[in-house]
Amino acid sequence: MTGASGMLGRRTAAALTARGDEVTVLQRRPSGLDCREVLGDVADPAVVRRAAAGQDAVVHLAAKVDVVGPWAEYAHANIEGTRSVLAGCRSAGVRRLVHVSSPSVAHGGRALVGAGADPADPARARSHYSRSKAVAEQEALAADSTDHAVLCIRPHLVWGPGDTQLVARIVDRARAGRLFRIGTGAALIDTTYVSNAVDALLAAVDSDRHGEALVVSNGEPRPVADILSGLCRAAGLPGPRGWVPVPAARAVAGGVEAMWWLLGRRDVPPLSRFLVDQLTTAHWFDQRHTRRVLGWTPAVTLDEGFAALARWYAEAAPDPPAQGCPPPAVRAGRLERAG
């Protein structure tokens, strides 16, 4: 497995290990996970070959997920990285690759209402991240064959306890009183509770389907304001305070982007036009095909996920989640924070 340092990667590696698979993880820095590790750049085919040798399957999760930074970094991590994984798998004789992609690879900014998995389209992608992932998915699917099967999984907005991306950022802003509702807050957004995404990746490893892309989500779209309130409530905070009209938000976002570019800042800007679009247009998916194909259904509902998150916040100190790997103990009813 590549990229085992994020929430989804750690959980997936742990779940594979827990069920008795022999797991090797590949990333730049030690993960602290209890499994074999190969350290290095995923874009280096030699490193990938070393990690992939003798594996039955590879899960390629490593990616640069961000909203700032130059294109070259995205191209390197996401396109070169995927090419290197494809080459490494081929030369190591790995028969199955699960390539983790993103619904944004096919998203041109319009509302997605009960959408399927449209083909990846770099030309329509709206950020460096989604464009690089679109190219990567196209190349991954082009490399698909019966001997080297490739299945692309596009989890949509994965969240859960220990998430440093989505949840932590929202909660931090709510805590600072800087979380606003943009527009009506009514756009329906589908999300994926982390353990459901883990289950889906495991099902993808076990499946014999290949040569296609599948969107994975909870299949429970909610108005974006309800999701933000749910996350805040779980952290014991009030929901978004006040609202900003969409045109104002877009104008501010444009200004922020220009400033970040002028200053060459590399930290995450507080607002971007991409984010405004994400928060004000519907994104939800028809999950029937995915569920049938993978023989998978989400085990944890949205509300159960909020409850699990609330327990995690209640048990954990309010300091930001750190390095550890929380084992996938949601279904056992208890969440632990390692590290």
Binding site: A186, L188, T281
Partner: protein, 863 residues
């Protein structure tokens, strides 16, 4: 004689172009090139669309008009039922067929088509499908090939100019010599305008596809020739051919389907009437929103043609008119109870504050008017629009029309002038009977036919309204005239229009035996007898009094706005006639409750004599019925379930509602004696396609059988066939189930089902559970997203109305409450100040409108 105004274009067909790739809906493999030698010995190459299916059941020969081409038929080529080969040629000089050196006459074109089908070795059975000028050509072909012909499907076309019609103005304009050349040949004006009539407009790519073969003046030569070949003049070279086709048309005694677009500026109602007169067996479906290019404006025609072809094969051909030999049928008894009371001075109809008409007077008045109508030219079968509010005059006029053998046509003012006009024109009204306001509306609607004015109107105003005669004069004239023979039980008596809550209002045809059965059912269900007196605060019931043999009164109210009924007006009406049975709609009853404070002791005494309240027209909340006990202390409270197409179907009393308790939907009680109710259960995809069953629990489309259900939908063949696909039954479009005690529960409308990834959700049960919440005044459960993966959104009207600032999203606490009450997963809870309701009953929530609003909001729009 037609003279080609432009120099003949030279032949450039050695390389006849093909349809370019990429036209929407037109795969290249349908195109064939067929060389055919014409009567003069010259070979021409035709372009033909061919679906390539073996013709095991037959062939559809599809013939386009001017200025289109076979592209018009692409959906039929793609969607024809199995076993039907589809051949759609481009006329010579048109589309992608070879261009011609000189114009061709109608006779030549018929011969050309005949030679083409010979070359194609066309064998029977053949169904001719034709549009526009393709009509005369293909009908000419059909008359030459009667042995091959199995049927006709005709879209807007004509074989003659109906008497009195000067010919469609547009065509005449296009035929003026200079104009024709300029508009049809030298410029693509005509080619382009033919595809510009559709509303909503056709897609740009489709319009371009229609124009593609007519890109240059040389390629448009035949477009102008076609226009020139329309024989308006008696000495036109094609005149005798066309007259011959028109004359011989009745010989084509084959099943015929007319699919008509009423918004066509070229072929109007006159042409439709002319065709129906020549092809009396034709079945008709009007696509109310379609213009000239019906196959573009009503793509669903493909399904209608498929269904019609299936009936051809099954031999299950339904009789278009359905009338049996009237001489054999017994006389209608609808007027019997009126005549039984000849000489009776008791009140038959009272108008509060105006007149009271005795039985004796009403009987005589009906006869006088019937004779007067006959003198005016009303023949059996004539359709008469009644634009008169409920009153003694309306009742007398309706019974007189029946006595004269005519059919009354009734529309709801709630449809608005445009909707009413469309409905009345579609019904083929020959006579309009209206008050001054009614006739003014008729003028605004541009209705055809004679006019009779009801009520006092000054002669000058009468002329302005276009009234031919006043009702009172008609009666006076009728005293001297002979009484027409009365109607038989099989004669049509009424065309009643639905409220049009879901698309254009549909005309529902009843015959006398069905009306009789309905009257008998009402008598039996509510034990109505001579001693009863009806107060009809629900407009349709004001007409039933004489047929029931029961006196009736209409309260002082605006019947088109049921909420205007006050408690005092109801009490006055009860007092006026000694009424003891009240018919009212829920909206009217809400008005009564709201004004009950103004009742005097005398009013209360009068209302105390009411034994029965029948609340009809929409579901009645039991809360409302319970509150009514205070106003009508002695009344049994009943509410029937039914619709314009079948009324009543079931009935339930207030104790019955209370005994049924809560369930998934509204309990509407048990079927009335003689009425059967079954459901056609839903498939997992949510389609009501499983065989009818009366088994409890299965949820499906509610179907009704009984002697009183509609005869058919008027001029809506495809709708009728779908609604009557189980012989003898009417499909209501309502979804519900039967319970173990035989009670019917209504769960919503078929169009309002929410088809989620995990199954079908019916809205009414969800709405009831949500409306039970303290904070909620009203709720609508709707689906958002594509069918099969829809999500449920609940739109609520909170008791504390939201302000504009609050936005559309429900506050978290309310959303949580609604989610836990709903009983199904709910994606979003939205709030509104009110819900859109239908005009007629002001109580049926327009869930389709709510759904599209919710879709917009939940897609991220600001609404």
């Amino acid at each position: 004689m037609t003279v080609r105004p432009t120099p003949a274009p030279h032949r450039h067909d050695s390389a006849a172009p093909s349809p370019p790739a990429g036209m929407p809906g037109l795969p290249a493999h349908w195109s064939r090139r067929v060389p055919v030698v014409d009567a003069a010995g010259v070979q021409h190459t035709w372009h033909v669309l061919d679906n390539g299916q073996p013709a095991t059941r037959g062939t559809l020969l599809c013939v386009h008009g001017n200025p289109t081409w076979s592209y018009l038929w692409r959906r039929l080529v793609a969607g024809a039922p199995p076993g039907w080969r589809v051949l759609a040629p481009d006329q010579l000089g048109m589309g992608w067929s070879e261009r011609l050196d000189s114009p061709r006459t109608l006779a030549q074109r018929v011969s050309d088509l005949d030679r083409l089908t010979t070359e194609l070795r066309l064998e029977g059975p053949v169904v001719v499908v034709a549009h526009d000028w393709g009509g005369p050509i293909s009908l000419g072909w059909a008359l030459r090939n009667p042995d091959l012909l199995r049927g006709l499907v005709l879209f807007n076309t004509a074989v003659s100019q109906p008497p009195g019609s000067a010919g469609p103005a547009l065509i005449r304009l296009a035929r003026m010599r200079g104009v024709r050349d300029l508009a049809c040949v030298r410029s693509p004006t005509f080619v382009r305008s033919a595809t510009a009539l559709s509303r909503p407009p056709l897609a740009r790519a489709v319009r371009d596809a229609f124009a593609a073969p007519y890109s240059t003046a040389a390629r448009r030569a035949a477009v102008g020739d076609f226009v020139a070949d329309i024989p308006f003049e008696t000495d036109h070279p094609s005149r005798s051919t066309l007259d011959g086709i028109a004359h011989d048309l009745p010989k084509l005694d084959v099943p015929t389907l007319l699919l008509w677009g009423p918004r066509d500026p070229v072929f109007g109602q006159d042409h439709l009437d002319d065709l129906r007169a020549r092809i009396p067996q034709a079945q008709l479906h009007r696509y109310e929103r379609a213009s000239h290019l019906v196959p573009e404006d009503a793509p669903e025609y493909v399904d209608a043609v498929g269904a019609w072809l299936a009936d051809l094969d099954d031999g299950a051909r339904r009789d278009a008119t359905g009338s049996s030999d009237p001489a054999q049928a017994p006389r209608s008894a609808v007027l019997d109870r009126l005549y039984d009371r000849a000489g009776d001075p008791g009140p038959a109809i009272a108008d509060v504050g105006r007149t009271t008409v005795s039985w004796d007077l009403l009987g005589r008045r009906v006869d006088e008017l019937a004779a007067g109508l006959a003198l005016l030219g009303v023949r059996p079968g004539a359709r008469v629009a009644l634009l008169v509010p409920p009153s003694a005059e309306l009742t007398a006029a309706a019974y007189a029309v029946w006595r004269a053998g005519g059919t009354v046509v009734v529309v709801d003012r709630g449809l608005g002038l445009r909707g009413m006009g469309r409905a009345l024109r579609s019904a083929g009204v020959e006579l309009v009977l209206g008050t001054a306001a009614g006739l003014a509306a008729a003028r605004a609607m541009r209705l055809p036919g004679q006019r009779v004015v009801v009520g006092p109107v000054a002669p000058a105003a009468r002329a302005m309204l276009g009234a031919d005669v006043a009702l009172a004069d008609l009666a006076r004239r009728g005293r001297a005239g002979p009484l027409p023979a009365g109607p038989s039980v099989d004669d049509e008596c009424a065309v009643l229009f639905t409220s049009g809550a879901t698309g254009p209002a549909k005309g529902v045809v009843y015959r006398h035996h069905q009306l009789q059965a309905q009257v008998d059912l009402l008598r039996a269900a509510y034990r109505l007898g001579r001693e009863d007196r009806i107060v009809a605060a629900f407009a349709p019931f004001s007409l039933y009094g004489p047929a029931l043999g029961i006196g009736s009164v209409v309260p002082d109210m605006d019947v088109t706005a049921p909420g205007t009924l006050t408690a005092a007006a109801l009490a006055d009406a009860v007092a006026a006639i000694g009424g003891n049975v009240v018919f009212a709609s829920p909206a009217a009853l809400r008005g009564v409750l709201a004004t009950a404070g103004g009742l005097t002791a005398r009013h209360r005494a009068a209302l105390g004599g009411v034994r029965l309240l029948i609340s009809a027209g929409a579901p009645v909340p039991s809360r409302l019925l319970r509150s009514l006990r205070e106003v009508l202390p002695a009344a049994e409270l009943h509410t029937p379930y039914g619709m314009t197409e079948a009324l009543p179907v079931t009935d339930i009393s207030l104790p019955g509602i209370e005994a049924a308790g809560d369930g998934d939907g509204v309990c509407v009680g048990r079927p009335l004696p003689g009425v059967d109710v079954a459901v056609s259960p839903l498939t997992p995809a949510g389609e009501p396609d499983l065989p009818l069953t009366a088994q409890p629990a299965a949820t499906g489309e509610v179907c009704v059988r009984g002697p009183h259900i509609k005869d058919r939908y008027d001029a809506l063949w495809a709708t009728e066939r779908a609604s009557a696909r189980d012989a003898g039954w009417h499909r209501t479009g309502d979804v519900g189930h039967l319970d173990a005690e035989g009670r019917v529960w209504i769960e919503g409308r078929l169009q309002h089902l929410v088809r989620t990834a995990t199954g079908v959700v019916t809205p009414v049960g969800v709405e009831q559970r949500v409306e039970a919440l303290e904070a909620v005044a009203a709720a609508a459960a709707v689906g958002v997203g594509p069918r099969g993966s829809q999500q449920v959104a609940v739109v609520v009207v909170p008791r504390v109305p939201p302000t504009r600032r609050d936005g559309a999203l429900a506050p978290a606490a309310l959303a949580d409450e609604v989610r836990s009450a709903a009983g199904v997963p709910v994606a979003a809870v939205l709030v509104r100040r009110d819900l859109p309701v239908d005009l007629r009953h002001a109580s049926k929530v327009d869930r389709a409108a709510v759904a599209s609003w919710a879709e917009r909001i939940l897609a991220g729009s600001r609404g």
